[in-house]
């Protein structure tokens, strides 16, 4: 099993880099960071141009800027929270689309027939993909978030320690890494990329808002997204949701192992 997993991980690392998956993930994050930073920097500049606009236009634009100022804060801490919220929406979307298709595509093309004949187990393929892509997504996020922090510190008012940013990025990265693993496992269970992608997006994007209306939301894994969006610094709050997310991933993997065992 160890040899099998090691060989599978090596193959998936080659896949991750040679099929430019790393570029897709890193590119999405860098593009999102650029967008957030541009919006943050653009608002004060545009505000200075207000007196030169006609009275009606100026009223409308000022109203719009007021909303944007609320959304895109000029201090680093809140800005990092805004960045995390954008990432939570768009990066998760890209990760879910890319990762949900990995296993169904391999099965559809028949790539696994010969390896299975050579002793590979179906669950090893799933586990290996979860490890490689989970770590890939986590590392990319941690690196880009810290890079964004450095750039944001040069341009915005500093109120957020790097140590906090590092911890926050690690928690957020691990959350998205485990979500990636769930996407991969769900696609293996459903054998369908669309079903797994839709389920995952509903869980990540819609469910946190719904669950936040109820008591005890802060103990559920969905709270981890909220934790990142608020650039929360009380890390003890992340322990229980993180443990639960690990447990959910493990249970999903267990279901996938049982289903694969019963499947020819």
């Amino acid at each position: 099993m160890r040899l099998e997993l090691r060989a599978c991980i090596r193959k998936d690392i080659l896949e991750y880099f040679r099929t430019a998956k790393w570029l897709i993930f890193a590119g999405t994050l860098v593009a999102l960071s650029g967008m957030v930073l541009f919006t943050t920097m653009f608002i004060p500049i545009a505000a200075k141009l207000m007196p030169y606009m006609s009275a009606v236009m100026a009223t409308l634009v000022e109203y719009m800027f007021d909303i944007l100022r609320e959304l895109v804060p000029g201090n680093v801490r809140d800005n990092m929270g805004f960045w995390a919220a954008d990432v939570g929406l768009f990066y998760t979307l890209v990760v879910a689309i890319v990762c949900s298709g990995l296993i169904p595509n391999e099965i559809r093309k028949g790539c696994r027939i010969v390896p299975s004949n050579c002793g590979y187990h179906k669950s090893t393929f799933v586990l290996s993909k979860c490890i490689v892509y989970g770590i890939g997504v986590t590392v990319t996020l941690v690196l880009v978030e810290n890079l964004y922090y450095v750039v944001a510190n040069l341009m915005l008012s500093r109120d957020y320690a790097w140590f906090d940013c590092l911890w926050s990025s690690l928690i957020y990265g691990m959350t998205l890494g485990l979500i990636t693993a769930c996407a991969i496992i769900l696609s293996d269970i459903a054998k369908n990329s669309i079903v797994s992608c839709a389920t995952l997006l509903a869980v990540v994007i819609i469910l946190p808002d719904l669950l936040s209306l109820f008591n005890g939301f802060e103990f559920l894994p969905t709270y981890l997204m909220e934790f990142a969006y608020c650039a929360e610094t009380d890390y003890s709050k992340a322990i229980i949701p993180m443990c639960l997310l690990v447990a959910v991933t493990a249970i999903l993997f267990g279901i996938s192992v049982i289903k694969n065992r019963n499947r020819k």
């Binding site: 040899l3 099998e4 090691r6 060989a7 599978c8 090596r10 193959k11 080659l14 896949e15 040679r18 099929t19 093309k109 028949g110 790539c111 027939i113 010969v114 390896p115 299975s116 004949n117 050579c118 002793g119 020819k264």
Partner: protein
């Protein structure tokens, strides 16, 4: 040994295999012949354990009674396109045996650093054959192994198959290229209407080849050929005689025949060999 008894398989309402019976021994190459959609791939997948069957018994065992290792080449081999040939074989070997990887690449004449994505169909087929041999299988299942190969490549595959038989392995081969089957198979089975309609030893077909048809200018007296030993003579019409070497020794029959014809006044108009090959049998059984 592979033993199939009453194997049936349906896909929904469509019955693909019904009551398939088959027995193949180690050291034999068994050729599976049938039209497109006859169920050859389904049967191979069932033997390889890749597909569940609805009814019947599939028994596979090695000479010592243990569970055999199976090597399998699908009809359209699919690979991880981003790997090179060497990386792919190493992956199948779980990175444990670099020497075996080099040996397999050498066997199919491929370079280790060639990217699979850039390979031609023939190269992919050869890589597929190497992949099927990775775990040194007891039973080798090859679905259309020569379909994309040039004559040289086909010859190389034939040589590999001969080598596998010499090593005592059991090979099941499916191909539409009947000339390849004739060269390499010991036994062939014709799969039609969901069942193996006929199995035939290839040496029987070779014996069938030993027929000559001689047409004379005048009416022929068949008693002239009574002296020929081990030869069956048969008049097909007043002018034509068919000779069949019962031993399968065509040369000896020809020598005897020419010896007699030298002394016969009735001139020969035409002389042909009658081939009863796999192609003819396929048309007879499967069409």
């Amino acid at each position: 040994m592979i033993k199939l008894e009453g194997v049936c398989k349906s896909y929904g309402p469509k019955t693909v295999l019904k009551d398939v019976n088959l027995e193949v021994e180690y050291g034999q190459i068994f050729g599976l012949i049938g039209r497109n959609g006859a169920g050859k791939t389904t049967l191979i997948n069932i033997i390889g354990g890749l597909l569940e069957y609805d009814e019947g018994i599939v028994a596979l065992e090695t000479k010592d009674g243990s569970k055999p290792v199976i090597g399998y080449l699908p009809d359209v081999p699919a690979f991880f396109e981003y790997l090179t040939a060497g990386e792919y074989l190493n992956f199948l070997l779980m990175n444990t045996d670099a020497a075996r990887c080099a040996q397999l690449l050498d066997m199919v004449d491929l370079q280790a650093d060639v990217k699979i994505a850039s390979m031609s169909r023939g190269m992919r087929q050869r890589l597929g054959i190497a992949a099927a041999m990775v775990n040194n299988p007891d039973i080798v299942l090859l679905d259309e192994p020569t379909s994309a190969l040039d004559p040289q490549g086909r010859m190389e595959v034939m040589n590999i198959l001969h080598k596998l038989r010499d090593e005592g392995k059991l090979v099941i081969l499916s191909t539409h290229i009947l000339a390849d089957m004739e060269k390499v198979c010991d036994v062939v089975g014709f799969l039609s209407d969901g069942t193996i309609k006929r199995t035939i030893q290839m040496n029987q077909i070779s014996a069938d080849k030993s027929k000559m048809i001689v047409k004379f200018a005048q009416k022929v007296d068949i008693t002239l050929f009574d002296k020929m030993e081990g030869v069956q003579c048969e008049k097909t019409d007043d002018y034509t005689v068919r000779f069949q070497a019962l031993s399968g020794d065509m040369r000896a029959m020809q020598a005897d025949l020419f010896g007699i014809l030298k002394n016969v006044a009735n001139p020969v108009v035409n002389m042909t060999c009658e081939f009863s090959n796999l192609d003819a049998l396929f048309r007879e059984v499967c069409l």
